[in-house]
Amino acid sequence: MNTFWSMSTNAGRKRSDGEEQGGPGEQRSSPTHPPFGKKQLPSIPKNAVPITKAASPASSTESANGTHASYGPFYLEYSLLAEFTLVIKQRLPGIYVQPSYRSTLMWFGVIFIRHGLYQDGVFKFTVYIPDNFPDGDCPRVIFDTPVFHPLVDSVSGELDVRRAFTKWRRNHNHIWQVLMYARTIFYKINTMDPLNPEAVVLYDKDFQLFKSKVVDSVKLCNSHLFDQPKIDDPFAISFSPWNPAVHEEAKDKMFAYKRLHSDPLLTTPHNQRWPEDYNKGPLVSGLSWVKPGSTQPFSKEDIPLQT
């Protein structure tokens, strides 16, 4: 049996990964932000509906004995966390994702289209990852509102991901590639084997009408921007109109953080992944007297004054 469950501690980490939130104290008091890095058992999400599902082995690794059954969920959890860190690292332009609170198998996302036919479109979507990842099918991407696009199903809003990833290959395929693909379709229109035949017909025969339909679709999507998230989840992405009382402080914090960490060492992607870590606990420093470019100990001429 290998079903999936969510680890709240990691949900906390993802939160800090995904966006720079307010102070740690704030997070600690909020139920949706469990204490980061604290040893504790995962809490059970209150509104979760556990559904038992038959699942295939999550990993191809042979297990000699019962260890795999006991640790399998950990492997899956960390595989997805690794995927998520890869996404963060890619810094895909105009794409934001966040795993759901309930499960790392469901990610919420939003794409901002900055030019082209779909300019100014803000499309919310959800990524569903199969629970036998990375050995199953490719993840699915479903737009909250079906966008008018040859590759997007006009009813379900599902994006045709399979055409780009006919077979999902572990080590070669990563979720960031799916997200990248989801972005690309709005800049380069492909009309082969469409999920939305009407769009293709218009695209080929009456481009002006196609364009106006796209504009309507963008408008429609944007008009639903401030709607409640389709799926109720603490980590679902929700928009609200600019409200200085709420947002100004957060914005300031983000910029202040950027200034604070203008040190090139700290602004490298890997270090931005744990801003909270830097703020808490005593400052730790290792020691080094190795001159850069040398492999000799104590090759630095001067002893640095560290206080």
């Binding site: 509104n47 950990f74 469901m106």
Partner: protein, 940 residues
């Protein structure tokens, strides 16, 4: 006066004085003084001839002065003076500042009439006993501590104070009584506090001396002899010195003076040597488990407490002092303590002695926090060579020694690795991994890859012995059920939204995220993950200061390989080789090769005699027979002369000092003689060479009187020698610090020679030596360095392979150190330890291979033992009990409780099995956390 201070009469008088107008006070003061002057003049040899003049006036400090006596002063007159003075001081203390900070009238009077100096001379004229000194010291202590206006700015106050201080110092007449010393240090401490608050006074302290013809800083010099003193006197002196050290950071003059004109740094450093010599050479090991000195251990050893106090003081000085003082001190510690004392101590003849020294070294490193001091300790370990072998190599070789030396050495490495010091890790681990010779060429690009799907973790956990499989272990040891999730939990939030969601999920035809119910998971594994995450992120932050990522590209493997090759052809260092593969303890681990006995040593001028000199010096300092250096001597004499001047003026001829204690002083004043003496003492010592301990014993046995003058003489000679050795071409001690760095630089160059050649196939000695591994590289005809991950990793893995037969505490240490290493984020190390998919050279043994071998041993053993499951359960219970008792101890700070052991501790295999299983979880957790915290970013 004493009585006044002691009985605290002031309190009562204070009330009386309130409201009394200043003019009245002034009149009273003047009246009192007039009475005092009458008595003083009556006995003044200049004014009258009362009292015959003694024949011999000694000029030698307090002793000389004490012998300079006039006719007995009647007791009633003495006490009358004392009474008047009491009142006068009180009036002075209570006087407020004049307008705009001007002197109050009483103070002005005191300054004009030179009251304090005249009183001091009066006390000298009477028998200048310890009681008299105490009285004077307390008087000043009270004045400085309680006066309402600044007094020290006035020379007529400062000068007699200085005279008093110099006469109270450990003058040639012998050390003062402990009561005087206590009071003296208290006063000095008070003066330093004043200095710290008002640095302008500092100028005056220097200027006062200049007037006397000797530029010095008496307060400071007087404190030096108390540096290493135990108890509160020593602590007060050290606190006072620290105040001056902090002053030096901002005041160039003070810094320069201390570095150039005092022997503060050498005294401090050689003092460490002296204190070290009184440490027990063998420790009473409390139990077999013992492997390092904890607080409870060293608090039982007063000598060790004293040493640590001084070491802590060095640390504090380095923290606050001016860089010039810091550098000088650090240099002296290296050349005056580490090299001459600690290095030979680490190479003593018996196992217990070496083990004890290793435990001390570990404790010292743990006790020090200042980077500059750590730099010194670590460069000593990494770069210093004793008998041509690096200390580090010797220490690594001892990991494999039997008895407790091996575990104590392991504990030392645990400390070293915990420092997150790049230089240490470079020498221990990375320099062997940088060339990437240990892996197949094709693996180099895999090096930085992250284990996206926890494959390594799964492989590690799959090594869990069948007897410890999660299904087999009964609760409560198996905490699986506590993570059980059931379907119908907590209905508070289940409502309409719930059903909506279920609907939507159905709509999406299985696109739902699902949460499994009733999953049994190993809860303890969550703790391991959390620990791993904390250790790794801590380590990543600590390693931010490192110079390179060690990722197989930087530093570039090719460059290192080439240099390795070149160096390999140059020389061979047989001594080193023997050590690295020596797994049986040799009583004399560093027996030099015959040819090394010739004068080809790198540092021929660092012979044992030097050690002994320093030892003697230090011992003397600690024993309190320290005599201040020349400048100070001059100063004491100057003050003495001042005091004697009155007597001289009285018509008595001035005689050159003729006391038996004088030669040392003369010598100091006389440069060439000193040199000659240095030569003498040197030759003496090289002749009568014995072990340092014998030297000490003979010192102790020697009669005091005989030694007194000798000690002073030797001391000066030794200081000269010390300075000479340290700053060979330089004349002033201040420049020595520049010089001090050169040994390090020198060693750096030498380091190149031996870096890798020891592991090159060209070195014939390698072949001859027995290897702990059957797979020891023999090939290597390609001319590349033979694949080798270095002695440290090799010896760790070799000990780990013996896990089933290791005792519990050895295994705890071993797995602890490997877990420390596993937290390091550098891809070279991470891939070697945790990537189970890496393909290494056949000659290289990986951690995974070793673990697999341990697993097999355990499986075999458990198959052959019927009662293994019961023993296993008992062992797990006893380890759990141990864990909780340790936790309780940490809270209660009561370390004495021994964990209950259900299974006899000789059942090593059983404990090893439990530990092994837990270790696999620990490593798997590290592997998993690395996959999401990986450093540095690689994929582009």
């Amino acid at each position: 006066m004493t009585s006044m201070v002691v009985n605290g009469k002031r309190g009562g008088q204070s009330l009386v004085l309130k409201g009394v107008d200043p003019e009245t006070c002034m009149i009273v003061f003047k009246n009192h003084w007039a009475q005092v002057v009458k008595i003083l003049e009556k006995h003044d040899p200049l004014r009258s001839n009362v009292g015959g003049l003694g024949g011999g006036h000694g000029l030698g400090g307090g002793g000389g002065l004490a012998s300079f006596r006039f006719g007995a002063i009647p007791g009633d007159e003495a006490s009358a003076v004392q009474n008047y003075v009491e009142h006068m001081l009180f009036l002075l203390m209570e006087e407020e500042c004049g307008q705009n900070g001007a002197m109050g009238p009483i103070l002005e009077f005191v300054v004009m009439e030179n009251v304090l100096e005249r009183l001091f001379i009066w006390s000298l004229r009477r028998e200048f006993t310890d009681d008299m000194k105490l009285e004077q010291l307390k008087m000043y202590e009270m004045l400085i501590g309680q006066a309402k206006q600044p007094l020290l700015h006035h020379k007529p106050v400062l000068k007699p104070l200085m005279m008093l201080l110099s006469s109270c110092s450990g003058s040639p007449s012998g050390p003062s009584s402990s009561a005087v010393e206590t009071e003296l240090v208290l006063l000095l401490n008070q003066l330093c506090c004043v200095l710290a608050k008002d640095p302008s006074v500092l100028e005056l302290f220097f200027h006062t001396s200049e007037d006397q013809g000797a530029a010095n800083f008496l307060i400071f010099s007087l404190l030096i002899p108390f540096i290493h003193r135990e108890g509160s006197v020593g602590q007060q002196a050290r606190d006072a010195l620290l105040l001056i050290m902090a002053l030096s950071a901002e005041n160039q003059v003070v810094a320069k003076h201390i570095a150039e004109n005092t022997y503060f740094c050498p005294v401090l450093a050689t003092g460490l040597s002296g204190l070290y010599s009184s440490l027990p050479t063998k420790l009473d090991v409390p139990s077999e488990e013992w492997h390092c000195l904890h607080r409870e251990d060293w608090q039982q050893l007063p000598a060790l407490v004293q040493f640590l106090n001084s070491l802590e003081f060095c640390n504090a000085v380095i923290q606050v002092a001016h860089p010039s003082i810091r550098d000088q001190l650090v240099g002296y510690i290296h050349n005056g303590f580490l090299v001459p004392v600690l290095a030979p101590a680490l190479h003593k003849l018996t196992l217990e002695e070496v083990m004890t020294t290793t435990a001390y070294l570990d404790l010292f490193i743990r006790s020090v926090s200042e980077p500059a001091l750590l730099h010194t300790l670590l460069s000593f370990i990494l770069l210093h060579r004793h008998d041509n072998v690096h200390i580090l190599d010797t220490l690594v070789s001892r990991i494999n020694t039997p008895f407790q030396l091996g575990t104590v050495s392991l504990a030392l490495f645990r400390t070293l690795i915990g420092l997150h010091c790049e230089d240490v890790m470079l020498q221990l681990v990375f320099k062997y991994l940088i060339p990437c010779n240990h892996m197949m060429l094709s693996q180099r690009r895999v090096l930085r890859e992250r284990d996206c799907y926890s494959v390594s973790a799964a492989k590690l956990l799959a090594l869990t012995p069948s007897c410890c499989s999660p299904e087999v272990i009964p609760p409560p040891l198996r905490q699986l059920d506590s993570i059980l999730w059931s379907k119908g939990t907590d209905g508070s939030h289940i409502g309409t939204m719930e059903s909506k969601e279920v609907l939507s999920e159905e709509d999406d035809c299985g696109n739902s995220c699902v949460i499994g119910s009733e999953i049994y998971l190993d809860v303890s594994y969550l703790d391991y993950l959390c620990d791993a995450q904390n250790s790794i992120s801590h380590c990543i932050r600590a390693c931010c200061v490192w110079s390179a990522p060690y990722d197989g590209e930087n530093p570039p493997p090719e460059e290192y390989q080439r240099s390795t090759l070149e160096e390999a052809d140059l020389t061979a260092t047989p001594g080193l080789l023997e050590l690295e593969w020596d797994d049986s303890y040799d009583a004399c681990p560093t027996q030099p090769h015959p040819e090394e006995d010739q004068e080809t040593r790198p540092i021929p001028d660092e012979p044992p005699k030097h050690i002994q000199e320093l030892r003697r010096t230090a011992v003397m300092i600690v024993k309190g027979s320290y005599i201040e250096e020349s400048e100070f001597q001059n100063d004491v004499m100057v003050y003495d002369l001042v005091a004697q001047k009155d007597a001289h003026d009285s018509g008595n001829g001035y005689h050159a000092p003729s006391k038996p204690t004088e030669p040392a002083k003369q010598e100091v004043l006389d440069g060439p003689v000193t040199d000659q003496k240095t030569a003498n003492s040197e030759s003496l010592m090289s002749n009568g060479l014995s072990s340092p301990l014998d030297e000490m014993d003979s010192k102790k046995r020697g009669s005091q009187s005989e030694h007194k003058s000798l000690e002073g003489e030797d001391l000066m000679a030794q200081y000269e020698e010390l300075i000479r050795t340290l700053g060979a071409q330089h004349s002033s001690p201040a420049k020595a610090d520049g010089e001090l760095k050169s040994p390090t630089v020198l060693m750096d160059d030498e380091e190149d020679e031996i870096d890798f050649n020891s592991f090159s196939p060209e070195t014939p000695e390698t072949e001859k030596l027995p290897s702990p591994f059957g797979t020891k590289p023999r090939s290597g005809s390609r001319g590349h360095a033979v694949p080798f991950t270095g002695p440290f990793l090799s010896v760790l893995l070799s000990r780990l392979e013996n896990m089933p037969s290791n005792s519990l505490h050895v295994n705890l240490l071993l797995t602890g150190i490997l877990a420390q290493l596993a937290a390091y984020p550098q891809p070279l190390l991470r891939s070697f330890l945790l990537n189970t998919n890496m393909v290494f050279q056949p000659s290289v043994r990986s951690l995974y291979q070793v673990l697999a071998s341990v697993k097999n041993q355990i499986e075999q053993w458990s198959a052959n033992n019927k009662d293994f499951p019961e023993l296993l359960t008992a062992a797990q219970h006893s380890l759990l009990a141990r864990e909780s008792s340790l936790r309780a101890d940490r809270i209660k700070k009561n370390p004495t409780i021994q964990p209950k052991t259900v299974v006899p501790l000789n059942e090593t295999e059983v404990y090893a099995t439990v530990l092994f299983t837990e270790f696999l979880k620990e490593l798997a957790a590290f592997a998993q956390e690395h996959s999401i915290l990986s450093y540095p970013p690689t994929e582009q």
